[in-house]
Amino acid sequence: MSRPECGCRLKAARFSLPVLHFDRMDPQATTGFIREQMERARALLEDASILLAPAACLSKAMPDEIQVLIQACREERLYPVGLAQGEAAEHWQANSPLRIFHTGNMATLEESTPTVHIQNRCLQQMVRSGQQAMAAEGSLTVLANVSATAEVLARDDIHIYGTLKGKALAGIQGNAQARIICQRFEAELVAIAGHYQLFDEPDPAWFGKPVCISLQDDQLVLQVFDRH
């Protein structure tokens, strides 16, 4: 989106704004609340831009009521610049100069947050039928077999240095870069970031072979390591 010749560029950016939630049209109560908050965190709030988040019950507020509320905020040196998503937001957008801010979903937010605590797990013993082993905060390594009907799950990669006969689910919080690597592949099911595949018909092309599974363009790709 950049056109250097005109000196303009369009880029996406994230801002963190305070959001004022309220469930009644009472400018006096609202300004009272704002003053109280100002006392506590003046440096943070004074002259700040904020979003308004009217509760669902305010989806029939009158245009002049809305205007009065916005004005009340401004007088307290808080400047509404938009509306947070919500049931009443459409109505407020139609009846005020404020636009709805689309905040995006939580999943993308979490993904962009750098993870500080990566906790990989390593299991020495077999994961047996009916058992489930999970690395909720990182990768999972199993140094033994994963039995039929057993489940291994990880936020990131799964490495199995034995036979995988059960189910393996990698990238369970949406990490599409996660991989499943195992020494002997006889799995019933694998999944990466919610894309899953059943293996109900064993195929000699991969059955019992060392395999790496990854996600490419929303497709699970099974790569067999041939031992030449």
Partner: protein, 269 residues
């Protein structure tokens, strides 16, 4: 220090009770004072297999509920002086067993016996759980057949996560595989899982392989543990398994189909 051994499998009908009886009798034969407890409350069988069903007066539930003393309920085997049986109740169900009660009975037995063999009921419900909870060692009885292997895998998982040793982070329960009803002829034809197939799936050390044998059924019906049927292959295999359990090295027998001699073939045997 007494050792508690659970004989378990998950699946029913694989030979837990037969193996408990023979294993306990085998330990007694070797001179160890052994008690065998039937945990299958409501479906008691161990007394039949050991031929003492007409001598049951008090049972495990009576002892747990303080209606009888332990030595009133223990039945001494008529053939083996070192073997005692603690039968299950037939009129109650498994809810009559309490964790504290079982622990108390086991602690009392530990003072007097070298080995305590717990014959677990099938399934993974309360009775099976209480039978394995206190175990030091586990004999997992498996038939060479996929559903039995799957259920045993499940039981091994429970042993590793829910036993007392697992809860207390102590040394894990020592696991042994006892493969029963093995038929080398069927394995050769590809109709049955082989020893190696089962070992590959379960990944625990092999204690013994008991061949499919007429003698097992006959001795069960006669109320004699099969290990006492002199000359039968099953008896020999059980004796080997007990010896291995006690630390002896014994070669695995009865893994190959029997070679039929000329005479047998002529006689159509």
């Amino acid at each position: 220090m007494a050792e508690i051994i659970v004989v378990t499998s998950g699946k029913g009908g694989v030979g837990k009770t037969t193996s408990s009886a023979s294993f306990a009798a085998g330990l007694a034969l070797r001179g160890h004072k052994t008690a065998v407890i039937d945990f299958d409350v409501g479906l008691r069988n161990l007394d039949l297999v050991l031929g003492c069903e007409r001598r049951v007066v008090y049972d495990l539930v009576n002892v747990i509920q303080d209606e009888a003393k332990l030595h009133q309920a223990l039945i001494r085997d008529k053939r083996l002086e070192n073997l005692y049986i603690l039968p299950a109740s037939q009129t109650r169900d498994k809810d009559a067993l309490t964790a504290e009660g079982v622990e108390r009975v086991l602690n009392e037995l530990k003072e007097e016996f070298d080995y305590i063999v717990c014959d677990s009921p099938a399934g993974i419900e309360r009775g099976a759980f209480l039978a394995l909870y206190h175990a030091d060692q586990a004999v997992v009885v498996v038939n060479p057949e996929v559903s039995s292997v799957r259920d045993s895998d499940r039981i091994l998982g429970i042993l590793a996560s829910k036993s007392k040793r697992a809860e207390e982070n102590a040394e894990p329960v020592k696991e042994h595989l006892l493969l029963t009803r093995y038929s080398p002829e069927k394995v050769e034809k590809g109709d049955m899982l082989s020893v190696d197939d089962v070992l590959e799936i379960l990944g625990i050390p092999l204690l013994g392989v008991i061949p499919e044998s007429e003698a097992v059924l006959q001795s069960s019906n006669a109320g004699v543990p099969v290990i006492l049927q002199e000359g039968s292959h099953a008896a020999e295999a059980y004796k080997d398994a007990v010896a291995r359990y006690l630390g002896e090295e014994r070669e695995m027998r009865f893994l190959q189909p029997e070679k039929k001699g000329l005479f047998k073939r002529l006689l159509g045997g």
